[in-house]
Symmetry: C2
Subunit: 120 residues, 2 copies
């Protein structure tokens, strides 16, 4: 079997860096396709295809306005990613704590060494 389709879920869709850029760009308000093209310096068919993928997995919403189409990020669809990554939050803080503890132990050791050096 080949790799899962980019349209199979949000995880696959956001694996592509350009699509992540587009999502950020469309996060705070709606923009037409041409704006994305000039803002990100991609060419139009490329943008349209990326938008197609994002549309298919519900990461963006479209609205027609005359000959323009106004796209906007559907932040709600990014939540599953956030939730999944959050599973690991306690672990990385643990790891940070371990690093911090070790640093503190090391510092304490240095202080002890210093003290014993002064004694000698």
């Amino acid at each position: 079997m080949a790799r899962a389709a980019t349209t199979s879920d949000a995880f696959n869709a956001v694996a592509e860096p350009r699509r992540r850029q587009i999502l950020i760009y469309l996060a705070h308000d709606e923009r037409q396709v041409g704006d994305i093209v000039t803002a990100l310096g991609l060419d139009q068919p490329s943008v349209s295809k990326h938008l197609g993928v994002l549309r298919e997995v519900g990461l963006v919403r479209v609205r027609r306005n005359g000959r323009h189409r106004l796209y906007r990020t559907n932040a709600e669809a990014i939540r599953p990613l956030h939730d999944w990554t959050e599973t690991f939050e306690r672990y990385w803080s643990h790891q940070l704590n371990r690093v911090k503890e070790r640093a503190e132990r090391t510092e304490a050791q240095i202080n002890r060494d210093r003290a014993s050096n002064q004694k000698s």
Copy 2:
């Protein structure tokens, strides 16, 4: 150009569902490969290859112990994903608020309609 390599970054690496399962499984303590195989019901070469990808992007750490290899999730490497998704946190709460507001407006409208119906 084809799709970016799965090993190009954490985003691409976690796009694969099995790899996400593996990361969850290895999150709270280290396990040997055989455990992953039986726990997730995949076959061994498949697991090894997934671990190879995860290793290459730093999402797991390995330690040799006799003929076993003990793998563990490196939660720190998941942080960039978390950070990226967090960019959208304020937007999805906004959207929820908008939905709620609209629901309230609709309800208010219904009440108004009801009132005017009673007048007539």
